[in-house]
Structure formats: C-alpha cells, structure tokens
Amino acid sequence: MSERIVITSTGIISALGIGEEQHWHALANKKTGLKYPVHLTTRHASEFLLGEVDLSNDELAAMLDLPTGDNGYTRTTLLALVAMQELVNKTGLQLLQDEPLALVNANTVGGMCSVEDMYPDFISDKQDGSFIKYIDTLDCAESTLNIAQYFKIKPFTATISTACSSSANSIMLGSRLIQQGIVKRAVCGGCDALSRFTLNGFNSLKNVDKEASRPFDQTRFGLNLGEGAGYLLLENESDAVARGATIMAVLSGYSNTNDAYHPTAPSPDGDGALMTMQLALQKAKLSADDIDYVNAHGTATINNDASEGKALQRLFANRKPVFSSTKPFTGHTLAAAGSIEAIFSILAMQNQVSLPNLNYRTKMDELEIEPVTEAEQMNINHVLSNSFGFGGNNVSLVFSKP
C-alpha cells in the first residue's frame, strides 16, 4: 500500500496577482483579472479581453534580480521563475537542492512570446543582434531548464506538452515519480505566456470570446486566453510530517485518458470526460457522492461545456453537483491551467468556500445542472479538478482534506 502524496507548498502568478493570498482575495470577492492587454503587442489589443499578468517583462526581471531589456529570458520563463520563487521562498532552497527532486514543468509554445517578434531576424541574413540570445528559446523545455539553472538545482527534469491538460499531467507524473521511489519530492506545474501566435491560433478556431467568457451559459461563445504559472510541491506524507511541513491537501486520485474522438473536439455526450473522472475517483477510492466541489475545465467553448456538462450530469446521477469554472477570473492559462486551478481547488478546500462561476446567467438547454455563482461557505472534503486538452488528452485530479 503506497503512502499518500501530499501538497506542502505552492507558487502562483496570474492576472489575479502573485501568491495564494492575492488569488484568494480575488476569487472570494469575484474580482476578475480579465482586461485589454497592455504588454502583449497585437493588433487585436482592443478587441479581446485577456488574462494578462499586470507586470511587464522588465518588471518581472527586476523581481528576480535579472538584467532588463533583451536579456535572453522569455516572458514564459520569467513567469515561471516568479511563481517558483514564491514556492522556494516558502519552502527553503536547501531542501530542494539537497534531496532527490523532480521538476516537472509544462507549457504549450515555449518562448514563442519572444520568438514571434524576432522571427524575421532569425530567418534573415543577419548574423548578429540581440535576437541571437533567443534562438534556443522556442522549445517547451527552455523554461524548465532555466528554472533549474536559476535556482541552482539539479533535479530529474521533465517538460510535458499536451495542450490544456499539460500541468495537470505534471502533477500526476510528479506523484508517480515519488511513489516509484525515483525522487523524494516533486515540484510540478506549468507556465504559459500570452503570444500573438496563441491568440491568433485560437481565434482562427473561432472559439475566442471578445467579451468576458460565460462558462456553462447558454449564450457562451468561447474562451478568453490568459497567462501565468503555477507550481505545487508534492511529497510523501511521512516526509512532510517528519520535517514539520504544513500539509495543504492530499492528492488522492488522478487519471489520464484519451477521448479518441477528434483532433480538437471532445465527444459530444461527454464520454471521454466521464471516463476520466470515473477513473480518477476509482484511483482515489471515492465515489461521486464523496465529491463536494468540482473545478471544471469550463473553457466556455460551445463544445467543451456541452461535453463536460453532460459528463458531470452523468457522473453525479444522484444529485446536482456543486461545480464551477474559474477561467473567467484568469482567462484560460493553457498549460498552466491545470496547476493554477489545482491550487484554486486546494484554496477552496482550505477555506471551505466554493469558487464562483463568473458571468453566468442562463442555463444551457441541454443541461439540468447549473454552476455555482457565489463564493459560499460549504463543507469541502474532496475536490475534483478537470483539465481537457487538444488531441483528446483528458486529466482529472482529486484533492482531499489532509
């Protein structure tokens, strides 16, 4: 019987701010972080509400004592480092340096946020210029390896890229690495920065809303993009107890399944989502009746919410579940969504308060259930958190009170 895997620290940055306190304040007071972007240069800046972090690259660099300007650090890396710095400050670097550690990171487009501006220089005849510093920053692992270098740690490193489920996958992998005895602890999560590539990419799918998104609402049109980074420190319960760490939550279940239905669309009746949630519950040795709150993937796209909504209805056949999407707060932070929302799920459980589904007004025709719209005091012992990505990659995580 393997030990319980627990979460003992977090680091988080998003449009809502930095750190658990700032995020909880926004969530509990229904304060969205969506606004028109000021740092992302795009001709669509006044068209699309985005969950942009309220700091420029120079401001992020200054927080990290890094040089400003064209310093070779992409925004993706800077966001990751700031979130990590919070976690490291709370945990102490010594622990992460001295004992076997895994760093499981995730993102979708690597340093594209910087590369896209410099790409014409990249492919020109120019041999010199500040763009040279960014030539090896496009891939997903650049932020992972920068984290290791910046904090002078030599962990087992892995970078996952499975679109919107990426950092939920990171958390699952981290847990498995500890359970297999490969490492003692794992820092797991993901990061993604806004880029024109991503904004225009999702816009070409015509599932981006110019207004604030309305998950699970009949009038929903699509998602708002966001950026951020979220990391969780996972370890065996006995190790956490031995060093006197505060246990925030137990990762009691997880699952990763593939919808195998379509390259980008989910199975319409929610078969894929249902399967994932059921398997995560099975792993947790819980039933749907034990789940007090569901933090849904809830992107507010036509397809996701119909599919996930139906899956929730089928899973909670006996009752109406308490569920919501927190994406109207932060935007859809893509690879960071899984870990950011895992942190939100844990905060909800710590505070025993549900998280509001902002902007909801009208029930979907095809559903009987409706999301919770207020931050309400309630008993929360177990939370289910969903992340569903392109390519049918579906992940569900179950967190329980310690």
């Binding site: 070409s204 799918l205 015509k206 049109f221 379509h262 390259p263 980008t264 669309a265 036509i302």
Partner: protein, 85 residues
C-alpha cells in the same frame, strides 16, 4: 454565377488540399459536410478563411458559418449577396 461556382470549386479544392479532384467532381447542391465530401469542422473553418481572403466576407460565428457552407450552391449565393471584393 456559373463562373463563380467554378472558381469557388477550384478554391475549395486548393484550400482543402482535395488532391486529384476537379470542379466537375463536386456537385453544386451536394452536401459538403457529413456525407458528400465528408468534410469536418476544421475544414469549415478553412472555408470561412477562404471567404474572408477571397471575397472579403468575415464570419465570426462558426455555427452561422456552417449554414452558409452547406453546399457550393449556398456558398455561391452567400458570396453574391455579401462580397466586398
């Protein structure tokens, strides 16, 4: 209108990379999605870009777009009414 439909068919074949197909292979009123050519939701987005790039018609809502894209006939009629280039 016939010339528009023929041009449109050529554009559809090119945009969706329907290798080996010729305009004569596409029936004006045959459904483009589901049966017929068996196109899918990604193809419908590609065709909406075709409308925007070639005829200046911008469709914001993918569901509205699908109705326009039912057949070459429906596309041609919509283009005639809404084209800006």
């Amino acid at each position: 209108m016939e010339e528009l439909k023929n041009t449109l068919k050529l554009q559809i074949i090119e945009s969706l990379n329907l290798e080996g197909m010729k305009p004569g292979d596409i029936d004006d009123s045959a459904p483009l999605f589901g049966e017929g050519l068996g196109l899918d939701s990604i193809d419908s987005l590609e065709l909406m870009v075709l409308l925007e790039r070639n005829y200046g018609i911008k469709i914001e809502d993918a569901r509205e777009g699908r109705k326009v894209l039912e057949s070459v006939e429906s596309m041609a009629a919509y283009i005639q009414e809404h084209r800006t280039v």
